[in-house]
């Protein structure tokens, strides 16, 4: 017996009587992955992993890769440059300031009141962090200049992020960044700079701050001219909407709660203030000189004001209902109201200023326009439920979420009822055909609607309930799912049956210790 008993534990190790799940319950703070992923021109997406304090790159068909950031930092916000050729990651890293002879390596071993943070902005290409820019920790937003060479970091206080204050914070700062090498140039331009415009040549920027607009040359970061938006030191002028005219000569600025429209002449510096009929709720400035207009809409007035960019003469257009949203495309502007219970959607032809009215079945929640062959051909609106009224069928439609497909070349509108709230919508043109890709809350299918025949939607099975959809630089799409360990579907609309996935990436580094920055420990 003694000679054989040693075989018992070996035998038990070989079998697997523990196939069942343990019955414990544990909890951790926060999700394993941030669903706000950022696409890359390389075909994958960047994902922040809050539990692992890491950044991952996930692509279909390959294992996820951890992107090593400077200072072993963790990403707090991710942004893609235009064309998604670079990732800009706001980062932070833990520093222990405790004075002790012992080497402290883990965050958990550092006294709480000795734990400090470093902040930066990492520039990533592919899976390599190639530069780190010194950006104050309170900044959380980026404006990109045309050409993918320059960007500006600033504070978007409206985002609701925590505002880390380390010593002194200058809330009038912006940081100009060279995206090639990460070199940074900090400037103070006025309190709360939060709206930054770039000329199309990317040779100058207009930074709007409270009661001030500053024009900065991007060659040497010199202030070219400063415009005071008010001469009264007690008055506060907060720009809310601003655009440059396509020739780059004028900056057109609307102001919060004011019926004044500011026009800054950037060539012959002066400010022109126009008195509008009311405070505008929406402004659209043509991006091209083909239709060189600024269009203004009002939540309190049933009109659009159309200003040309030569003499800034107004040509008002009368509506039946007020609007608060404007969406523009080549030669047209579509106006709707996403707050009121109104149903009207208007298309304004900028070449004739002719207005076409569409009536949606329900109030509009959001709207997107799709070009087909370079011409804006369709608009798709998400319709939200409203209080029921009318006949039984009207009631049914009123009580449900819906979609409206607008033919922008004619005046047709098709109203559809959908199963649940749309959580994501993208429009795509492939081979001359137009599609809306719609995700519904809790529904594990993707609706692919041919906009030329919207009544028959194709349903594509998904691996899990979706959360959102975004477009990749190559025109394909990614779909994020409500999956705790990470799941993203990649979809090519030309071949919707061949879905690819990246999954499990949120497990990357899940067991790793939360270490203090190695560089700070040296």
């Amino acid at each position: 017996m003694a000679r054989t008993t040693w075989l018992i534990p070996l035998g038990l190790m070989g079998c697997d009587p523990f196939g069942h799940w343990p019955e414990g319950v544990e909890s951790i703070e926060g999700p394993l992955w941030d669903r706000d992923v950022v696409p890359s021109a390389d075909g994958g997406v960047y994902v922040a992993l809050p539990q692992a304090h890491a950044l991952a790159y996930a692509a279909p068909g390959t294992d996820a890769v951890r992107v090593e950031l400077e200072h072993d930092a963790e990403p707090t916000r991710l942004l893609a440059s235009p064309g998604a050729t670079r990732l800009l990651a706001f980062t932070q890293w833990p520093i222990c300031t405790a004075e002790t002879d012992e080497k402290i390596e883990l965050v958990e071993d550092c006294p709480f009141d000795s734990l400090d943070w470093g902040y930066g902005l990492d520039l990533v290409s592919g899976t390599d962090a190639y530069a780190t820019a010194e950006v104050p920790g309170f900044m959380n937003a980026i404006a990109f200049a045309p050409g993918d060479a320059t960007a500006v970091a600033y504070l978007d206080y409206e985002s609701g992020d925590d505002l880390p204050v380390d010593g002194v914070v200058d809330l009038s700062q912006v940081v100009f960044l060279d995206l090639e090498d990460g070199s940074a140039h900090t400037m103070s331009v006025g309190f709360s700079p939060n709206n930054i415009l770039f000329s199309q040549k990317a040779d100058k920027a207009v930074v709007l701050s409270r009661s001030k607009a500053t024009v900065i040359g991007l060659e040497d970061f010199e202030t070219l001219v400063t415009y005071d938006l008010t001469l009264d030191a007690d008055a506060v002028v907060d720009p809310v909407g601003a655009q440059l005219t396509p020739d780059g000569r004028y900056a057109i600025i609307s102001v919060q709660g004011s019926s004044d429209l500011y026009t800054l002449d950037l060539e012959v510096p002066h400010v022109d203030i126009k008195e509008l009929v009311a405070a505008p709720s929406a402004m659209w400035v043509s991006p091209t000189t083909d239709y060189d207009f600024t269009v203004l809409g009002y939540a309190s007035e049933t009109r659009l004001d159309v200003y040309d960019h030569v003499y800034f003469n107004n040509q008002p257009v009368v509506l039946e209902e007020p609007i608060d949203r404007l969406v523009g495309a080549d030669g047209i502007v579509v106006a709707y109201n996403d707050r009121a219970s109104t149903h009207d959607i208007y298309r304004l032809d900028l070449s004739t200023l002719e207005l076409t009215e569409y009536v949606a079945a329900n109030p509009v929640s959001s709207l997107e326009i799709l070009d087909v062959g370079g011409t804006p051909a369709f608009a798709v609106a998400v319709l939200r439920p409203e209080s029921a009224g009318g006949s039984d069928l009207d009631q049914y439609q009123d009580q449900n979420w819906g979609l409206a497909v607008l033919d922008l070349l004619g005046d047709d509108i098709v109203n559809l009822v959908v199963e649940s709230e749309p959580v994501g919508m993208a429009l795509a043109e492939r081979d001359g055909r137009a599609y809306a890709l719609v995700l519904l809350d809790g529904v594990e299918t993707l609706l692919m609607i041919d906009l030329a025949a919207p009544s028959a939607a194709r349903q594509i099975e998904l691996a899990a309930a979706p959360l959102g959809i975004g477009e990749m630089p190559d025109g394909s799409f990614y779909i994020t799912h409500d999956s705790p360990l990470g799941l993203i579907t990649f979809l090519d609309p030309t071949d919707p049956s061949s879905l690819e996935t990246a999954s499990g990436f949120a497990t990357l580094g899940l067991f790793d210790d939360y270490e203090l920055s190695a560089q700070e420990q040296e």
Binding site: M1, A2, T5, W6, I8, P9, L10, L12, M13, F18, W21, P22, E23, G24, V25, E26, S27, I28, E29, G30, P31, L32, A52, D63, A64, R66, L106, E108, A463, A464, D482, S483, P484, L485, G486, L487, T501, S503, G504, T507, L508, G509, L510, F511, D512, D513, Y514
Partner: protein, 195 residues
Amino acid sequence: MIALLFASVSLAATELSLELGSTHASDRGYSLFSSREAMGSWGARVGFGLTDRTSLLVDWQHSGKGGEVETTGDDVDFQAALTVDQLAVGPRVGVHIQNVMPYATVQAVAMRGRVRLDGDRDSTDDLDEWKRSALTAGGLAMGGVQVIVGEPERAVRLSGHLEMGYGHAFPLDFGDFGSISFHGFALRGGAGIVF
């Protein structure tokens, strides 16, 4: 007299015991499976008598931890399970004082860990179920006491033991998941037979 006391039980006997154990685990990765800083385990050990004062211990311990992991700020939970098997082998040296035997032992440890993570317990596809396994090695240094009940001339007698000490294992490396370390205070206790 002294010779009689020390000779009342021979370590040359064979021992078979069932055990409960605990190994310190203050590892961040382990906290996903248990909020305690120790990994409880159960198992069995066999002792092979070599001489009157020495024997060879072979000890196997198994632990299964985990369950549902709730994530604040996230609508969906996931399942996590960690199973660890330890096989420890090493000599034991002790002295007998009537039926009580204080002893010391050092053991080499082979450790196998298996991790399962499942994002959707209801589905069986490989999109949301992930497994990793790892092997590592370590050592144990423990002191303990064994008590043997029954007349020395009986062929089979009952025994009980309690031992504690320090254990250290190299991290279990679960690849891209990261690693989990077990080191620190170790405790074993059990009951069985000596024959």
